[in-house]
Every structure is written in structure tokens, then in C-alpha cells.
Symmetry: C2
Subunit: 210 residues, 2 copies
Amino acid sequence: MKNISLQTIKRIPTYYNVICNILSNKQKFLSSNFLSDLMGIDDTTVRKDLSSIGCNGRPKQGYNIIELKKHFEIFLGFNQPKNAIIIGAGNLGCALAKYEKFKKYGLNLIALFDKDPHKIDLVINGIKVYNLSKIQEICKDNNVEIAILTLPEDEAQSITNTIIKYNINTIWNFSPVNLSVPTSIFVWNQDLVSNFLTLSKLAEIKKHKI
Amino acid sequence: MKNISLQTIKRIPTYYNVICNILSNKQKFLSSNFLSDLMGIDDTTVRKDLSSIGCNGRPKQGYNIIELKKHFEIFLGFNQPKNAIIIGAGNLGCALAKYEKFKKYGLNLIALFDKDPHKIDLVINGIKVYNLSKIQEICKDNNVEIAILTLPEDEAQSITNTIIKYNINTIWNFSPVNLSVPTSIFVWNQDLVSNFLTLSKLAEIKKHKI
DNA sequence: TAGATTGTTAATCGATTAACAATC
DNA sequence: TAGATTGTTAATCGATTAACAATC
């Protein structure tokens, strides 16, 4: 397996979505051109991406769809579930807890946490809400790798400082805060307001260009 | 205003979050180095970004925080609200409807839509749920620009085909589908499963490097 | 064999970073 | 004035795209 670029890794889930959507067809092979057309990228990019993660096509035929799908699933780690907790049992936290698909794709939700006494002991989609004071215990007992932060911005940094002591190495951050963490911690920012602001600006620019 | 790169636009909301978080300090000015340290990027990148959107600093002093904040707000269009509808009143759609911050940042939610008769006429955070058949009427009456898709994947494409006839030019797509749209339509993909798969892979790679 | 499609090397494009003059 | 910090040009790095040989 060659060096895989950041941009390639970001595209793999999209390739996966695309081929899942055409599985019902009787088609057994697809070409890089077919994928590149659907995704609005260059066909050379598709071949480079697939080649870099070790997918081989056949000249004149293309890529075997079933093989491709399996390859993506192994690459993306569907069968190596990661344990995660959600911190903040508000609307978004609860919606994520109820999102059925996560499990299938390897995200195993262990518990929710909140400081509101009214929420403690609620069970959301089979996942229990605990008081924040239980985080350490539950992280230790369950080998939790990922913390999903759905907290108000004024609480996100201090909770982060706490949880990084408990072996969590990945933070999926939905709070509108730029977290300060040691270099060993990986943070993925998913603040929806920031995303809205970016998409809205890009839409505006596109509109003016046309 | 010079040419603004895609990467710059993606960083502006983060700059904004950072300066909002230090507003309480008495500090009046900040340096590009201060911002670059917090964000983990090069200070030259900060100066280029700010310069490209027309923010001017002063040698030896840095950038005026209040001016910077105002500049970002104008650039990001906080005061030019955009009307949007949410299609799919499931857990995620409802959580977004309840997210109080959107309004403040210029996202004006007009209505929710669903096909489930039990959900029709519910009011979520002041926003009413309508039958899908009402989309055309409501889009026309309210100058709706943005559609937020929180639908199962098998419905997303057909709804998309419908709504692009009603003057919607921007789609914020939470469904795990690569939508086909005319070039005039701007699509921002926010599928949370894809994001999880990408972040999980990047975390794994980072772990192996250390 | 001829033609379609892969896979890779080279060229281009865009973004980041280094170097440094301008300036308050 | 000396020093810190901006703002910009040039160099580097990484990603995309073009060109094309390999191959089924």
C-alpha cells in the first residue's frame, strides 16, 4: 500500500456511498470514468485513489464492484468497532445516540453523559445517560477511544482537559470551539454553525460567478 | 478584496470562534502568531487569510480584535439571513430545528417536511412540520434558498430532483448519498457516517505514526 | 489484432511556508 | 532609533490533471 493522501481518505466514504447505491444493478464492473463522472472529479484521480489503497482494476473491464466494496469496508474498518461516548445529552447528542447506522459502520456507543440531574439514568436507544462524574469509570471499563462532544461552547474545553486523562485519543467535536489538546490527541471539528457559514459563503460566491 | 481561496473560507469560522472565546479578556489587539498558535497553522497563513478578506493589522501592534470580529461577521453574512427548510423530521432534522444558534448566524428555518402523517402539523421549536406536498407552495411564499436534507438515503435523490425546480440553489445534505444535481446547484455534504469513517481512519493513521 | 481502460510518470495548479522589506 | 509585527514576493510542498505506455 502506497502513501495515501489526506484528500484520498476524505473521498473513500463517498466512493463507498456511490457503489452502494448502484449495487442493485446487474453490472459487475465499473470504470474509473463512471465513478469520476458521478463524483465530479477527474478519472485519473479515481485511479490514483483506488491504486493507493490497493484496489486493482483490469484493463478494458474496470473494477469489480463487489471486490471494491469489500476493499473499502476493510480499509474503513467496519469490522473493527471503536467504542465511543457522547458528552452532552442535548438535542444533538440524543439524535446521534438514536442514529441507527453508526453501529453498522463500526461506531459503538457506550454511554451518554450530562450534568443535568433530570437526564441522568434516562436510556436513549438503549444507551444510558450518566452523570459527568462517571466518565473515568466508564472509559476504563469499556476501552473508550472516541469522545463525541455535543456540549455548550463554554464547557467543551474543560471537559476535554478532563477526558484526555482517561485514554481517549480521538475527539469528534460538535461544539463551536477550537479545542487546545496535546499533539497526541486527534480532534475532528464538526461544528454545524461553522459548516453553515462556510457553505453559505461558498454558495454565495458560486452564485455570483454564474 | 483579493482572490479568496477555498481553504481560507473554511478557516474563517474557526478564526471567528477563537476570537469570540477571548473577547472577555481586556486585550485589544492580537498578533497573527497568537492566532496561528491556537489554530496549529503557520502565522503567514493567518496574515494571508486576513489580508485576503480585507482585514488590516498594524505593524508592532497586530490586529484590533473588535474590528476583526465585525469584519468576520460582515464577511460571513450574519446580517443577511437565508431562508431554509428541513426535509425529514426525524431525530436529526428535529435536533437541527431545535438548535437555537442557527438564527443568530443567519440561518432562518421556515418549515420542516415529512411524509409521515403522524408528524404533520407538529410544531418543533416554533417551526411547523408540513406534508412533502406543500414544499412548492412554501418555497415560493418564503424565498427559500437552502434545503437541509435529513432523509433516508433512498429518498434523498428524488426529493432533490423535485426541490431544485423551486428556486432552491443550495443543498445541505446530511444523507449518505452523492447527489446528482445541475451545475447551478451547490451541494454541501455533511453525512455523519462518512465523517466518522474519515476521522476514524485519520485517527488510526495518526496513532501508528506516533 | 484493435480498442478500451488501467496505472504511472510528468506537468500543472493551488496552498503553505520561508524570506524579507516595509512600517509603526 | 531599535524592535516587533505586518504584508508580500519567492520557494516549496502536496494534490490534481495531462500524457501515454502497458495490458487484457
